[in-house]
């Protein structure tokens, strides 16, 4: 899900950087500072999720949990994902510094979209909450995959080839993410329901 250094063109990198700065600024402004520790726990979860690999065909994919961050944090997912990706780039050499903006956008924007799509049903109990959280996890990976393909296309890599490659590899991951997000949200709703109200000021 991370694009490596040296793949994208400079205009794409610059555009991604600018959009990330804007999104992060809005995220910091809208962040609920009284629940910063809950936010940091979710950031830490996102940070270590990449270490969980799922072999798929010729390669392997890793958990992302961007959907979980998006539906629980809202706009605050921007600084959370940026922080986690920066630390991954520095400590794991995963992705890169120059491509940080693009990688952040590719994960945070779908996460944010899922927040707006799923939020109305998240606070409801039972099946609606489960379906909503599954949809959030699934859609987040699906949209991120599309954005990665679009990013590669803009950088003169064939869109169809990039879309096919990324979609094929991440299709199983979409379902896995949806299921994991559903279980995590259900668990949090039972034991720590305040996690579902992080975005409430």
């Amino acid at each position: 899900m991370h694009i490596s250094e040296g793949v994208l063109t400079v205009p794409v990198l610059a555009g991604g950087g600018v959009l990330t700065v804007i999104g992060t600024a809005i995220g910091i402004k809208n962040m609920n500072y009284e629940k910063i520790m809950s936010t940091s726990l979710l950031t830490a979860t996102f940070f270590v999720a990449t270490l969980i690999h799922v072999p798929v065909g010729p390669g392997s994919v890793h958990l992302v949990l961007g959907g979980l961050l998006g539906i629980l944090l809202g706009w605050a997912c921007f600084p959370a994902i940026l922080t986690a990706l920066l630390l991954q780039a520095l400590l794991f050499q995963y992705g890169g510094i120059y491509v940080l903006g693009v990688n952040t956008i590719n994960m945070a924007v779908p996460a944010l979209l899922c927040y707006y799509l799923v939020k109305p049903w998240l606070k409801q109990q039972g099946k609606k909450q489960s379906i909503a959280s599954f949809a959030g996890g699934f859609l987040s990976v699906f949209l991120s995959t599309l954005m990665i393909a679009t990013t590669l296309w803009i950088s003169d890599t064939g869109f169809l080839r990039a879309a096919q490659a990324t979609m094929a590899i991440h299709l199983p991951m979409m379902f896995i993410e949806g299921i994991i997000t559903m279980f995590i949200v259900s668990f949090l709703a039972k034991v720590q329901p305040e996690f579902l109200t992080i975005t409430d000021q």
Binding site: S4, F47, Q88, Q93
Partner: protein, 163 residues
């Protein structure tokens, strides 16, 4: 408060001497020369071979493409040294998959122009096991995240008290 936040984030993250020696999900590339043939191995973390991944061999000085190809189902690619067109500079074996994963290995002239079998070249971008993820880097990352959160919480508490 927000200026302090940006400063705090920058100060905590860019702690001097952060160890950058770990490997997570990415493509690992290893190349060596044996019997006048350049062998390339491309593997994703977790050990799975990068199948049918595009390979490009490039002159590091002129940036000219010397050869192209694709890895096989085992993630291997090999090419005779004689196929590389008249290069006397270091060459870079680049593997880039369609989904944005990219990595490379550099071979010095003495590595591929000599007739003997060499030890793995020193200038590569990857070392040792591709699966190594030092626990200390994970702990350091978590420490950074919680430090930032703690700092932000402290600053926001102070601001609330002042108000």
């Amino acid at each position: 408060m927000k200026n302090s936040l940006f400063f705090l984030i920058t100060a905590v993250i860019f702690i001097p001497g952060l160890p950058i020696n770990s490997h997570a999900h990415k493509i690992n590339v290893f190349a060596y020369v044996e019997n006048q043939t350049i062998f390339c191995e491309a593997v994703f973390s977790g050990g799975r071979p990068a199948q049918k991944a595009p390979v490009q061999i490039m002159d590091t000085k002129t940036r000219a493409t010397l050869a192209t190809g694709k890895t096989d189902t085992n993630g291997h690619y090999n090419i005779a040294v004689s196929s590389i067109k008249n290069s006397r500079n270091s060459i870079e074996v680049i593997v880039q998959t369609d989904d944005g994963h990219r990595n490379s290995w550099t071979l010095a002239p003495k590595d591929y122009l000599d007739n003997t079998i060499h030890q793995p070249p020193h200038s590569g971008t990857e070392q040792n096991s591709p699966d190594a993820v030092p626990i200390k880097n994970i702990i350091l990352g978590l420490f950074c995240i919680f430090s930032i959160a703690g700092g932000v919480h402290l600053l926001s508490s102070k601001k609330r008290k002042r108000q």
